[in-house]
Amino acid sequence: MSTTVVTTLVLVVLQLATFLLFAPLLAATIRRTKARLQSRRGAALVQPYRDLAKWWGKAPLVGGPAGRVARLAPAVVLAALVTASLLIPFAAVRPPLNGWGDLFVVVGLLALARFALALAALDAGSAFGGMGASRDMAISSLAEPGLVLALAGAALAAGSSNLATISAFGSQQGLGLLGPAHLLAAAAFGIILVAETGHQPVDNPDTHLELTMVHEGMLLEASGRSLATLVFGSELKLVLLAALFAAAFLPFGAATEIAPGPLLVGTIVGLGKLLLVGQILALLDASVAKMRILALPDLIGAASLLALAGLGMQLLLTP
């Protein structure tokens, strides 16, 4: 095997291990902080792992007419997210599968996960599945232009839609990166991050009140391994989007060369960034009320406009 293949394999294993092991912990830290802010003690940090293990071993219940779609969709959701996670730079400025796909491929894989999850939600013929799917589709329809425009801004600045190029460009620019175009795009991405991961004020991740559920509504009929897969998928999606944010807008600290030392530093700094994003989400969860669903276009639409303004700035300031 040539050295590039070995490097790729090592990076793939490293990134998969980091993301898959860390995803439940990130969810746990958010819940812990939220509990502390609400003067509760909160569950132990290993609780999400325990939950996943418990569901994994439980006998699955299949609701009413649900069939193959409900059974297979969780695998598609997680496979799409795992594939996407290998295309995002994390410890180094290059992603493990360098050149396999750019930002549009990542966005496409996220859409595939959404498509499969929404279909699974409709399979059991439950009102709540339909409700969750319908709302999730509406919210992400608003969010996707903002997400793509924000990333396109970073791509225009770097000169390529390859995330490796974007990330390398950012870390090479250092503080010079923090221009108006960059800040506007980063702000837009921040709003999208909240919307896409289902945190307040867009969705309440802890609610099981039927009439307000979005993401939870889609999981209502899932059980056993399916539920474990889907919950783990949503935890991974948060890691993925936060890592995407870091790669495009805060690429400081990522290794520019592939060697054990820089990769270790890059991983630690990367995890630090993820934890930081998580703490901000926890703060939002504890302090902001959920918005009426009809008011969401004002918030999420603003992200598209911010990103577009950023793109304009980018074109204006480029010689």
């Binding site: 299949v62 609701g63 496979a79 796909g101 319908s134 589709m137 598209s304």
Partner: protein, 663 residues
């Protein structure tokens, strides 16, 4: 290669003839399937570098002009699309009895007329084939004994298709005048660079109106969502999959190939039309609960996406970035082929549902997946492909379209305002893609998943074998074109480099490689590797997740403690409600709720809910146009009083005028 053209034309002609002879009428679909296969192979041969195929007729047709043909790579792209779509559509009707033998004969003839349009080498041949295509498709839409609703849709279609023909006719007349009476495309092409700017602009605008109407681009789309639902499913499949793409072919042939592109505002105009068609097309599609009407609106959306590629290609070519322009055009060509595949598939799926349940109303469907597994799986793959999801073909061409737009936004030679327009269009395309996902979750989920919402849906059975095979074939094509996107784009890139005029043509060795001019390594999408990885991951996880050691128990779906009923489920209308409200300023929804109570109480006997959106362009713009044309028709009627002598007198006057001025 000439034998492939011969096989195509021969098979379609035989199919048409066979349909008229009762004892062998059943052979017609098979012959027409063979014609489709030959057309696809012919297209592949042209793409694989078989070189152009010319045939010059020595005799003048109608004493006027020769029907010369010239098939090149650009024709090949659309022949491939036509071939795939025609094969599947013809296969799907194998073994059925047509409504009438004349309609059965018209279908292969319609397919052949499109082959002729793609090969026409001069203005006369083009218009002749074009008109043949328009009339035959109109016959296929309305049928021989149409009902009132069908007549109204048919009239609108005939009227608008003639607006298109008229615009193209005038555009050709301008070109003929500018070249001193030449009819050949080649002569026009040679003379195009030296034509006055005003002439070129007029030709462009007329071509955009003419071909745009045929393609169903906004705001000239009104015929499309009406004609498709009333046509038989295999006809709507080909009309939506291929015929509207013939409009795209015409636009590329005349504006980019013959005229050699133009000033950048041409591209911007097409970009704006494309963005509007894409976003409004998908928004209107989401609001439909008639499955075929929903698919028809999606055709408008996809034409919009194709136009985004053409628009950015024109802008880039106008500023000398020809390599990127060829890439953007490749995106348009690839999406044309892909849309032909998955739209044919989806219309055949809708046809299968219609056949099984006699229903097109999504709100009465549901749960068909168990009774119709092949249809459901194929439709699901088609839905994922049209939604632009990796690793399928729709994603690959949308990815290229995104790259074309990003390239336009990132090219320094392009004026900043145009750069910004391209950047904003990236947002429009992302919005379109996301709404398409929502729409096809709705279309697939409400039709095939959950509980049946009517007795017809509950009693449905799988569709006929040939139709299943046709759909499975197209679903496989979605996967193959998606994973093999690299090979396909290489071939298409060669075509677009010739059309754009990249000299010398650069060989493209890597799958899909894009590099913005400013800096940095190319952006890549390794379709085969990435797609395979994804599929392997899915398979692995299916094994892991699906193989629980414990026994699966089937329980009632949770409905807060009461027995589940189909009416508890979300319907197509309720599924789209958040989006209807989010975009209420565009869609202008109206709703009406009628509640009837038991006398003297507040207990409802019945509740009727009706919700409709306003199609602003059609309801406001077209009503005006309609009124105006009625008034003009009343004026024109004075010239047309039915006396044959008067008409002959008109002819004499016309000949006199021609003698005076044209001689």
């Amino acid at each position: 290669m000439a034998w492939l053209l011969g096989a195509t034309a021969g098979a379609f002609t035989l199919a048409s003839g066979a349909a008229l002879v009762r004892p062998i009428a059943r052979l017609s679909p098979a012959l027409s399937t063979a014609g489709g296969i030959a057309a696809a192979l012919f297209g592949v041969a042209l793409l694989a570098g078989g070189g152009p195929l010319d045939a010059r007729a020595d005799a003048l047709f109608l004493g006027f002009s020769a029907l010369d043909v010239h098939f090149d790579g650009l024709s090949g792209v659309f022949l491939l699309a036509l071939g795939i779509s025609a094969t599947a559509a013809s296969l799907s009707i194998a073994g059925t009895r047509a409504r009438s033998s004349l309609e059965a004969a018209a279908f292969p003839a319609f397919l052949l007329s499109m082959v002729l349009v793609l090969g026409a080498a001069n203005g006369f041949a083009f218009l002749f084939a074009w008109e043949l295509m328009a009339l035959l498709s109109a016959l296929l839409v309305t049928g021989l004994r149409p009902s009132r609703a069908v007549v109204s849709a048919g009239y609108l279609y005939v009227a608008m298709t003639h607006v298109a023909t008229a615009a193209i006719l005038v555009a050709f007349a301008v070109l003929i005048a500018a070249t001193g009476g030449q009819l050949d495309f080649a002569a026009w092409q040679a003379a195009a660079p030296s034509m006055p700017a005003a002439t070129r602009d007029v030709v462009f605008l007329l071509a955009l109106v003419g071909f745009g109407t045929k393609a169903g681009a906004l705001p000239l789309h009104a015929w499309l969502p009406r004609a498709h639902p009333v046509a038989p499913s295999h006809v709507s499949a080909v009309m939506s999959g291929v015929m509207i793409k013939i409009g795209i072919y015409g636009l590329i042939r005349i504006v980019i190939d013959v005229m050699g592109g133009g000033p950048d505002w041409w591209g911007l105009t097409i970009l704006v039309v494309g963005a509007l068609s894409a976003v409004l097309g998908v928004l209107y599609a989401l609001m439909q609960h008639d499955l075929k009407r929903l698919l028809a609106f999606h055709s408008i959306e996809n034409i919009g996406i194709i136009l985004l590629g053409i628009g950015s290609a024109l802008i880039l070519a106008a500023h000398g970035a020809t390599a990127l322009a060829a890439l953007a055009l490749t995106a348009a060509l690839f999406h044309s082929v892909n849309h032909a595949v998955f739209k044919t598939l989806l219309f055949l799926g809708a046809g299968a549902v219609l056949h099984a349940t006699r229903l097109r109303d999504l709100n009465r469907l549901g749960g068909l997946g168990r009774a119709m597994p092949v249809t459901a799986l194929s439709f699901g793959i088609g839905a994922a492909a049209i939604s632009g999801l990796p690793p399928l073909n729709g994603f690959a061409s949308e990815w290229l379209t995104f790259q074309g737009l990003l390239g336009t936004a990132g090219t320094g030679a392009v004026p900043p305002l145009f750069q910004f327009a391209a950047a904003a269009t990236i947002g429009a395309l992302a919005l379109t893609a996301a709404l398409a996902v929502a729409c096809f979750v709705k279309a697939t989920g409400i039709t095939f998943l959950g509980l049946p919402r009517s007795t017809e849906a509950a009693a449905a059975g799988e569709t006929r074998r040939p139709a299943q095979a046709a759909m499975a074939l197209l679903a496989a094509a979605c996967v193959v074109l998606g994973l093999g996107a690299g090979v396909v784009t290489d071939a298409l890139m060669t075509v677009s480099q010739v059309v754009i005029g990249v000299v010398p043509a650069q060989p493209v060795d890597l799958a899909a490689v894009v590099s913005l001019p400013r800096s940095g390594p190319a952006a890549t999408y390794a379709a085969l590797a990435g797609g395979s990885l994804l599929l392997v991951a899915v398979a692995g996880l299916v094994l892991l997740v699906g193989r629980a050691r414990l026994r699966t128990r089937r329980v009632d779906t949770w409905t807060c403690g009461i027995a589940p009923q189909p009416a508890f489920q979300y319907t197509a209308t309720s599924f789209a409600k958040p989006i209807r409200l989010f975009f209420r300023r565009v869609l202008l929804p109206e709703r009406q709720v009628d509640v009837e109570y038991h006398p003297g109480t507040r207990f409802p006997v019945s509740i009727r809910y009706r919700s409709e959106i306003t199609l602003v362009l059609e309801d406001r713009l077209f009503r005006r146009g309609h009124e105006l044309s009625i008034r003009l028709a009343q004026v024109a009627r004075r010239l047309q009083n039915g006396a044959i002598q008067l008409y002959l007198a008109y002819t004499v006057v016309a000949v006199l005028i021609l003698l005076l001025f044209a001689r």
